[in-house]
Amino acid sequence: MNLIIAWIIFGTLVGSVGTYLLYDERKRNAEQGALLGAAVGAVGNLVLLVPLWVYTFMRGEGEGDQPVIGRDPIQPRHFIRVALYAFLILMMIVYLLPVYTVLMTSLKPRAEADDLDTVWNLPSEIEWDDLEIGSFSIRMPVGYATALEEFGPQLKNSLLLTVTATILSALMGSLNGYVLAKWKIPGANVLFPLMLFGMFIPYQSILIPLFQFLNDVNLGGTLYGLIMAHVVYGLPITTLIFRNYYAEVPTEMLEAGAIDGAGFFGIYRRIVFPLSLPGFVVVIIWQFTQIWNEFLFAVTISNEDSKPITVGLAELSGGEAVNWTLPMAGAILAALPTLLVYIVLGRYFIRGLLAGSVKG
């Protein structure tokens, strides 16, 4: 642990020194110097921190912190092993190649983006543009500035939708999970399969009545309608994850609370809820990525003012793409929140996935 902290401090220091040196050297053009310096600093940090991240990730794998029971691999003979590594590296390249070119294209000036011969190359220069937000103005590559200007309202819609729906469905799921895990109720054996059906059912089967219903109550095309749909159809999975999580909480603890005079809700609020943080982390990450990336509800229920980012992006690809800089920058902006969540909290992300498909 100490080693990790030392490493982080060291990495930050090296990055900052790089930043300062570059800034110093480029004093004549302070703005560009600072930007370039910051970029070098960030890269310096990444170069130092990424191996560290990989290291902790791999160590964590053996510690049983993952849903997987750790076992050392049973390794085959030497030459086969080399072949397997070669294959894995090749596959990693195949997987990363589209992502790499997308990133490069999003940074390139317009004229360069469509050239077949330079698709692989780094951008020859980065064109900058000022993005005005209120009284602020931020300098960024031209593709991103255009994308932010174009998709700003949709990113805001997505954020509003995702945060609200995630929090609501997580809270309701927690309460449901508590009841299902700890209270004996007649008919639970009917309710549970019903909930599972709710989880597995294709949204298409409820889409038409939902569409008609939202129109009837004048919520059609609004963000509220979309939020409601996501809360309701997120409930089965959040309930299931919390139910499995609370099943592990010793019942004696709740009993103690009951003896002390806490009622149904008192037990939940004072004993169960404070224990729920890890459950909430898994559920919130899961719901956040699902709702942020969702498209079917988004494209059918939203209208021009309430459409989330996925719809905006999809419309962009509908027109014959004359220039790839904007779509690629947009794709990266739209993928950034969920990608960051995955990179930083991948372990919980996978745990949610396992809870949703195999078992908790």
């Binding site: 029971i69 894995l88 993928a335």
Partner: protein, 308 residues
């Protein structure tokens, strides 16, 4: 569903828990059970649900009465709507994506189980799962650009000395195949993660023992590992079948009429033609296709729950 560990004191309130479950229960009934039933009903009605589906039939054509929408789903294949093609395309998706992701996922899971330090490879292969399908479709739109002078695939082919071509403009079924590649790219990480977890949980002694008995890699895989992880393979296959049947995003973003699948046909009936009857009929076909798989999944889940 007996819970012997529930203490006496927790059994006191028989009604109160129901009271707290009521919102969820009511919501599920209102939003899952009722709408599904209603979808069946709407599928028998005409485009704005003002009359029965067969009301507008001409006398000189075969008409299936209230089932007229289903008649259309399985026959009409005109310039405007390619219903039959979309059914075939969904079949193509199933045939490619389900075995494709499961076999590739198994391959990756086996390899990452064999060698050390594979966390980075796993993380990268899983990464597309964190991106939206819309984003993935955009990224791959760049790979298969319709302009022969642009696009990653063309750039790659030209580098190797082949000719560039308009990939998405090729004769019909090929577009579907190109789109399934995207789905395989996205979902292999998912199948790999689940299958790797299953393989990891096989005790090392079992594998060592079979090695001592002289089993080679293939015998080891087919005789020892595969039978042990069969339950997980079944889960992954059923989940992938449902995912593929309801596949919508990639096709909607990238496809034209020739690559339509059931799910995209339904949404175009709903949002473009505003024909609720047809949209509902297509939805019902989709539900009927998923129900056997869903029943299997729910039963397995419930059995697992009973074992807890």
């Amino acid at each position: 569903m007996k819970r012997p560990d529930v203490p006496h004191i927790m059994r006191q309130g028989r009604l109160i828990p129901w009271f707290y479950l009521l919102p969820a229960l009511a919501i599920l009934t209102i939003y899952v059970v009722y709408p599904t039933v209603r979808t069946f009903y709407v599928s028998l009605r005409n485009e704005d649900s003002s009359g029965w589906a067969g009301d507008t039939c001409n006398d000189d054509e075969t008409c299936f009465g209230v089932l007229e929408n289903y008649h259309k789903v399985f026959t009409e294949d005109t310039a405007g709507a390619k219903n039959v093609t979309s059914l075939y395309n969904t079949a193509r998706w199933l045939v490619i994506v389900v075995p494709g992701t499961v076999i590739l996922g198994l391959l990756f899971a086996m390899i990452t189980d064999r060698v050390r330090y594979t966390a980075a490879a796993k993380a990268i292969i899983f990464m597309p799962m964190a991106i939206s399908f819309v984003g993935a479709a955009l990224i791959w739109g760049f790979v298969y650009d319709s302009d022969e002078k642009v696009g990653l695939l063309n750039a790659f082919l030209v580098r190797l000395g082949f000719d560039a071509r308009n990939w998405l403009g090729l004769a019909p079924p090929s577009g579907t195949f190109l789109l399934t590649v995207i789905a395989v790219w996205v979902w292999t990480g998912f199948t790999m993660t689940l299958l790797a977890a299953a393989i990891k949980s096989i005790p090392g002694e079992v594998i060592e023992a079979s090695r001592v008995d002289g089993a080679n890699e293939f015998q080891l895989f087919f005789r020892i590992i595969l039978p042990q992880i069969m339950p997980t393979v079944a889960v992954v296959m059923t989940t992938m079948t449902i995912n593929t049947l309801k596949m919508f995003d990639i096709v909607w973003v990238m496809g034209g009429r020739d690559t339509d699948v059931i799910a995209t046909r339904m949404v175009s009936e709903l949002t473009e033609s505003r024909d609720f009857g047809m949209a509902a009929a297509i939805a019902v076909v989709l539900i009927l296709l998923t129900i056997p798989v869903m029943v299997y999944n729910v039963r397995r889940f419930t059995i697992e729950e009973a074992r807890r």
